[in-house]
Every structure is written in C-alpha cells, then in structure tokens.
C-alpha cells in the first residue's frame, strides 16, 4: 500500500512537471478551456437571468376574476379558500371595490372622470389569481368558470408565448453549452495528443521496461486534470468580476426603468457556476487526456 502511495506521488510530480515542461502547449490548453468556460458562463448567466426575469413576469401574469356585486362580504372569504384549493393556483389576492377605485384615482389622467363616480363606485371587486405553471392556465380557467358569480378575464395569448420563449431560450443555451463542451474535449485531446506525440519515444521505452498502462497513463491524466482545474478556476473569477460590474452598472443607471424586475445576484450566479466550471474543466481535462493517450499504449 505504501508502495502505491509513493508511486502515486512520483507520478503526480511527473504530471505536474509535464505541465511546465510543455508549458506552451499547457498554456494553449488552459486558454482553450478558459475560453470555452467563459462563453459557457456568459450564456449561462444570460439564460438564467432571462429565466429569472420571465419567472418574475410569469408570476405577474395572472387571471382576474371579477366578483358579482350580489356576493356578500362574508361569502368572499369562503370563496377565496375554495379558489386557493384549485390545483396549480399559487396565490389569490382579494381586491375590494374600494381598492379598485383607489387604483384608478391614483392615475392623474383619470382622476377627474373618477370623481364623478365617487358616490356610486361602478368598479367590481375582484380576485387576482396567480399560477404556479402558466402552461396549465386553461385548466385553472375551466375550474373558475364553474362559479357563476365570477366573471373571468385573462391574457389568452401571452401566457403560452411566454412559456414558449422560456423553453426556446433553455433549448438554445443547452445546445450552446453541449457543443462548447464537445469543442473543449476535442481541443484538449488534441493538445494532450501533441504532448503524447512529443513523448511517444519515452512512452515506448517505458513499455519496454515493463511499465503498466496505468503507470504510463497517470502522469498524462494528472497533467490533463491539473490543466482542466486551472482552466476551470480562472473563468469563475472572470465571471465574478464581470458580473458584479454589470450588476453595479445596471443598478445605478437603470433602476427607474426596471423597478419591478430584478437581476440575479452575483452569489446566485457564482454558486451555480462554480461547481459547473470546475467539474466541466476537470472533466474535459481527464476525458481529453484519456482519449489521446489510448492509441499510444498499444506497443
């Protein structure tokens, strides 16, 4: 057992020395992985922000159910509980006749018109209903239509459109990310292939001395993993710096415009991107080196 640990230490040293000995190639590989992961990070940040914004919009797009004036005040609470029990309903807010009136009088353009109705409020009370999943809006509406005392109003067209936009953004970023990973593996395996090619005589000699496949492979894999690790760490810091800067700019200049919509925090983005970057970086390094050395072991 101690023999194995000693060997592993020796092989790790060889692998890390290899990075330095082939520093130009290592730099190229690290650069490739960094580039891939930065592009991945940017598309991930965009996609998750779009997703985040859409979910905020989604939660604002709801169904309004106007309540017939014949419904008494004390029946409203029972009705509200019933509506809350409908599957896929995430929230029911009661807007009384007075609340509705106040909303309108707040608007300065309407103020004068509304004054005429001050004594006899024509606006109905309503429930604002939000949903968990916009795609299931139809079913919620079917349930609501069973209540004769409610008149339902909703955005028929917008809901599916939002869902579609959200889905297509997810698919597109998925395709970008997968193709970037493939490109990364191919480039990585090419760089390691070159290192292997430079050292093929050495590998050949090792085979004649009686080195096992793992003994020969390990330094290259360790080299690949280390390169992948370095290539995975750099984009995290790059994204950290860039995203906090973007947030600062957005928050200082555009707060008025997009008051109700928030971007994801740097911590949220980084906590998702850090493991992604490290795992993909190391994965690319390991897979790339295993692929490229396989051929040269057949001596």
């Amino acid at each position: 057992m101690t023999v194995k640990i000693r060997t592993l230490r020796h092989l790790s040293k060889e692998g890390i020395l290899g990075i330095w000995e082939n520093r130009l190639m290592s730099l190229a590989s690290i650069g490739t992985i960094v580039l891939c992961l930065i592009i991945l990070g940017v598309s991930f940040t965009l996609a998750s922000n779009v997703d985040y914004i859409l979910s905020q919009i989604e939660s604002n797009v709801g169904i309004t159910a106007y309540i017939d004036d014949s419904v008494k005040e004390d029946e409203i609470t029972t009705l509200k509980t019933k509506l809350e029990a409908i599957p896929n309903v995430s929230g029911v807010t009661y807007v009384s006749k007075d609340d509705a009136f106040l909303t309108f009088t707040d608007d300065s353009n309407l103020e004068n018109i509304m004054k005429q109705f001050e004594k006899d409020n024509p606006l109905p009370a309503s429930f604002e209903i939000t949903m968990v999943d916009l795609e299931e809006q139809e079913r919620v509406i079917e349930s609501l239509e069973q209540y004769d005392e409610l008149e339902i109003s909703y955005f028929q067209a917008e809901a599916p459109m939002l869902v579609q936009l959200n889905d297509s953004i997810r698919y597109i970023s998925m395709i970008i990310i997968i193709s970037l990973i493939l490109v990364g593996i191919i480039l990585m395996s090419n760089t390691i292939k070159l290192t292997v090619y430079i050292r093929r005589r050495e590998i050949n000699i090792m085979k004649y001395i009686g080195a096992t496949d793992w003994f020969i492979r390990a330094p290259f894999i360790i080299e690949g993993i280390s390169i992948g690790l370095i290539g995975g760490i750099i984009p995290i810091f790059a994204l950290w710096g860039a995203y906090s800067w973007v947030l600062k700019v957005v928050n200082s200049r555009f707060t008025v415009m997009i008051e109700s919509i928030k971007l994801q925090s740097t911590a949220d983005i980084l906590s998702a991107f850090t493991p992604m970057s490290l795992i993909i970086g190391v994965g690319i390094g390991a897979i790339g080196s295993i692929i490229s050395i396989r051929k040269h072991l057949k001596v």
Binding site: R6, T7, H10, E202, I205, I209, G210, T212, D213, F215
Partner: protein, 228 residues
C-alpha cells in the same frame, strides 16, 4: 528458460516471417541469433517481448506460455526480460542515474533499494563516474553501458540484446561484448541478435541462424558461417 514450439508467424500483409520454428534456450545460456535482415530475426525478438503474437505455436518464457498472456500481464513479462537496443533508447531528459533508477521506479521498488542498487549497477558497467550526465553528453558506448545497467538493475533472469553493437566502433563493441559476457556469467540468460560476423566467430557461443523464417543452423560453439 525460453522455448519455442512449432512457432509460425504470418503478418497481415501475407509475409511469412516464421515457419514452424522450434528451439530451446536453457537457463544461463548465451545465444547469438544471426541472419540477414528480413530473415525473421526481429520477428523472433518481437515475439519474445510479446510485441507480436505468433500465428500458431507456443512460446514459453520462464515457464509461462506467453502466447496466452493477457494485455494487462504483458508489463510483468517484460520485467523478467531486460532489453538493450541498437539505438540505446535512454530517456533524454533524465540523467544516467535517473534513467537506471526509473526502471526500478516502474516496478515500484523501495527507494532505499533504488539508492543502493543503482550505484552498484552503474559501477558494474563502468559508468559510475558519469552518473550526473545526460544521455546527449555521452558517447555511444557509454550510452549503451547505461542501457545495460538499466536492463540488469532489476535482476531480470533474461537479457535480450537487439544488435547492441550496431552503432558502435569495433573497440567499443568489444567492451560491450565483455560486459554482456560478465552479465551472462552472473547467471543471466542472454539472447543477442547480431550481424557482426567477427564477434560471433571469436566468442564461439551457441549460434542460431535464421533464414527466410526457418532455423537453418543451431550449433553449440559455432561461428557466424556454417564452415566448421
């Protein structure tokens, strides 16, 4: 120690490099394998190292049928066989000491054992003074001494030398031959493939001559040619 039983080898391109060859090499033997290029000499060496597999027949090395070895077991076969080549095959970025030590690291030897055995072996082949040098700083003869040290440092029972004197001037060649004989005297079975008539004629060891894939002579104390 080494035994071939009805070994034939046909390459995928149709070349018949070995035709039903049988031979025995005993422990402690010193054997020359001679023959012109293309005779099947290299094929024989490659098959002993399991670089090539015979198309039919059995090859037994150190009591094991190596034709049945799995890929994973090949490194362990090669640890039983020290090898020396015409082109030395030293690691260019390692010193003399590290080249020899490397052979022991590959078999996961104890570091204490490595520190003891490497200087002793370097002394044995007469290259101890240059232990800090890199291969490119050495002459051909010196490089071959290092290669010999590497081949014997793990006490392998068999030494295969493929044209070990091919790149050396006659005088240096004789020094290497003397070392090979010393190694043989220590009990190592030596199989040496060579072209050099003078060496074979002078040393009067067992000679196996291969021509066109067939053993045409196997004499106990022969020279290069068939005259005696």
């Amino acid at each position: 120690m080494i035994s071939l039983q009805n070994v034939s080898k046909t390459y995928p391109n149709g070349t018949r490099a070995m035709k039903n060859v049988s031979l025995n090499i005993k422990k402690g033997d010193f054997v020359f394998v001679v023959g012109s290029s293309g005779s099947g000499k290299s094929t024989l060496i490659k098959m002993l190292l399991k670089e090539e597999d015979p198309t039919s027949g059995k090859i037994i090395v150190n009591n094991k049928d190596i034709t049945k070895l799995k890929r994973k077991q090949v490194p362990y076969l090669r640890r039983e066989i020290g090898t020396v080549f015409q082109d030395f095959r030293l690691l260019p970025n390692k010193t003399v000491y590290d080249n020899v030590a490397f052979a022991m690291q590959v078999v996961e030897a104890n570091p204490k054992e490595i520190r003891r055995a490497v200087p002793v072996t370097l002394g044995l082949v007469g290259i101890a003074k240059k232990f800090k040098c890199y291969p490119h700083q050495l002459s051909g003869g010196e490089q071959q001494r290092v290669a010999l040290a590497r081949a014997i440092v793990n006490d392998s029972p068999i030494l295969i030398a493929d044209e070990p004197t091919g790149n050396l001037d006659p005088e240096t060649a004789w020094e290497i031959m003397k070392l090979l004989q010393d190694i043989n005297k220590r009990g190592v079975t030596v199989v040496m493939a060579t072209h050099e008539k003078e060496i074979v004629d002078t040393l009067r060891k067992r000679v196996i001559e291969i021509d066109n894939g067939v053993v045409i002579r196997d004499s106990c104390e022969g020279g290069y040619d068939c005259e005696d």
